[in-house]
């Protein structure tokens, strides 16, 4: 096996991620941690993959993610390698129009349509999506939690994270979103709401809901949240920005 370190405690996590390639070119992902926080996240990863596999890959019997070594304070998991393209999240909403549409469709297809609480990926970022000829694949389930979030949380998070990147990572940084950015968000919220009706208070103020849910449940992201808030950039929006953005979305949605 030839090993490559891909990420080492990235964004304040306590997990190292590797790609291992065998003699015949077969690849797997290996994740390792030796800290209580990191090990907890790896157990969540295994649980998340188990949940996702049942719905996304029902024909595959062998587990796509499993524990390979487990000691008192060491955990190593093996995950099937998915070859494909990773979207460039830095290009924001404009640069990922088609991919966002596919991600929204994927969320609507996979996530159970329930009026109660839904499972949460917890880091539903474009950086954790792979696209290939077999469609959309969601990876990196380190923050998976069962039946914790109202339906729609993850996909709304993805939209607002991309809005953040559009506003702050582009050539022209802007404090207030452009009308084009709001239009893209509203079109997707409309699709999401058609697929499963969002709760009225979520629809009324979606960004306030996403940020509020994260802040109220920040224990789900552990110390990583306290040490490295940029991991979840949506929480960096100011209260003033949130009010403005939600108002812009509200008035645009009324016209759709």
């Amino acid at each position: 096996m030839k090993m490559e370190l891909l990420r080492n405690c990235w964004h304040g996590s306590e997990i190292a991620t590797y790609r291992a390639t065998d003699e015949s070119g077969g690849k797997i992902i290996i994740k390792v941690s030796t800290t209580p926080g990191g090990i907890k996240n790896l157990y969540k990863e295994v649980e998340g993959w188990r949940w996702y596999q049942k719905l996304r890959y029902p024909a595959i019997q062998e587990p796509l993610c499993l524990i390979v070594q487990e000691y008192k304070s060491y955990l190593k998991v093996k995950i099937n390698y998915i070859d494909g393209d990773k979207p460039v999240y830095q290009t924001g909403l404009e640069g990922n129009k088609d991919i966002i549409t596919r991600a929204v469709q994927h969320y609507c297809q996979i996530w159970p349509r329930s009026s109660d609480l839904s499972p949460m990926h917890g880091d539903f970022s474009l950086d954790n999506i792979i696209i290939n000829s077999n469609g959309v694949h969601v990876i990196d389930w380190e923050h998976f939690t069962t039946d914790i979030a109202p339906w729609g949380f993850d996909i709304l998070y993805l939209l607002f994270e991309l809005l953040y990147f559009s506003m702050y990572l582009g050539k022209h940084q802007h404090y207030k979103p452009t009308s084009d950015e709001i239009r893209i968000i509203c079109e997707h919220i409309k699709t999401i709401n058609t697929c499963q009706q969002l709760q009225p208070d979520i629809l009324k103020a979606p960004l306030k809901f996403v940020r509020g849910f994260i802040l109220a449940n920040n224990h789900l992201w552990g110390e990583q949240f306290a040490l490295y808030q940029i991991k979840l950039p949506v929480v960096i929006f100011s209260s003033e920005q949130i009010t403005v953005i939600d108002e812009m979305i509200g008035s645009r949605m009324a016209k759709l």
């Binding site: 090993m3 490559e4 390792v32 030796t34 304070s73």
Partner: protein
């Protein structure tokens, strides 16, 4: 455990539970007074709390989980017996103990081992023994006591050093000194003993800076001698630079990728697998098998220096990194090397 039995028979244990050989030495980033206060406070504080009180700037160096990332290359199975040569505060010893059956940590500085002992106590790790010994004086182990894994993490380049070294007053400072022996030969002798003390299918993990790290061509100072151009210059010229700047010969020999292979082969290893590592082997962000081509990995050199100013040297390093990594895709100028040597 044969290795532990051997150590128990050969060496006395001090009152702190550390095995001690006759030879002693001192190599530490902390001076003796700092170490004394740190060790005293371990009686009523955890190792982490004590460090935060006296040298919080070293918390990451000692405790960061990033330090251990290279160990996975060894593909450990959990039943290995290991020796961590020059273990210091246990940046590799502790994570190694979590993954394997037994670890012997060896270091010449008693204070570092006392700190490590407290870490092991705090973490409830009972599969580690510590031995204070000069690494150049390691005995030949009987066959049944040989280790499956040897770790030499940032240690080989210090092997030719001698005497008490308090790094704060030694690093980059003029300090007249003479050495006995040839640096390269001393490194070879040490590696030869490491090789002898490995079991039949034993593996060596060697991490060291690349002599030809591209930054060195732009006058970034050698992280061991704190002199410019000494790593890339021919050894004789490096000696002259060091004698002039520091008053002592240049002994912290580094190697190129090819040099590491040659050195390990000369000391007996039958096969050497290389990995390139950046930004360095201590806090690696990327470790790549050296057979793999260069990818579009992130550029690690900033345009600005530590004071936030754009300087000629930084600009040069940034441009060179871009050219080396993205245009020429030259692999042999990577900052650090991890080599796995097979017996």
């Amino acid at each position: 455990m044969e290795l532990l039995n051997y150590i128990e028979h050969q060496y006395q244990k001090n009152e702190g539970g550390i095995f001690v050989a006759d030879t002693e030495g001192y190599w530490s980033n902390f001076n003796k007074e700092e170490n004394k206060r740190l060790i005293e406070s371990l009686q009523y504080k955890s190792a982490l709390e004590a460090l935060r009180d006296y040298r919080p700037d070293f918390e990451d160096v000692i405790f960061s989980p990033k330090r251990q990332a290279g160990l996975e290359i060894l593909q450990l199975q959990g039943d290995e017996v290991c020796i961590d040569y020059g273990c210091m505060w246990g940046a590799m010893t502790v994570p190694l103990a979590r993954r394997t059956k037994f670890v012997l940590g060896v270091d010449q500085t008693l204070e570092s081992l006392q700190f490590l002992k407290a870490r092991l106590r705090d973490d409830g790790l009972d599969n580690v023994a510590l031995l204070r010994n000069n690494l150049r004086n390691m005995p030949v182990l009987p066959e049944q006591a040989r280790a499956d894994v040897a770790i030499i993490n940032g240690v080989l380049e210090w092997i030719p050093e001698a005497g008490v070294i308090e790094l704060g007053t030694y690093f980059g400072k003029h300090h007249k000194k003479n050495y006995l022996g040839h640096p390269g030969e001393q490194q070879k002798l040490f590696l030869r003993r490491v090789y002898e003390n490995l079991s039949e299918k034993g593996k060596l993990y060697l991490a060291i800076e690349n002599r030809y790290d591209f930054k060195m061509f732009f006058g970034i100072k050698d992280p061991h001698s704190y002199t410019m151009f000494t790593t890339i210059a021919p050894r004789k010229l490096a000696n002259l630079i060091s004698l002039r700047k520091l008053g002592r010969p240049y002994v912290n020999w580094l190697y190129s990728f090819r040099g590491v292979v040659s050195l390990l082969k000369k000391t007996g290893f039958s096969k050497v697998v290389l990995y390139r590592c950046s930004p360095d082997y201590r806090f690696p962000e990327s470790i790549v098998h050296h057979d793999y081509p260069m990818d579009n990995s992130r550029l690690i050199n900033s345009w600005k220096n530590e004071n936030g100013k754009i300087t000629f040297r930084r600009t040069g390093a940034r441009i060179t990194e871009f050219v080396v990594k993205r245009v020429l895709k030259i692999k042999n100028f990577a900052p650090s090397i991890i080599a796995i040597g097979y017996k």
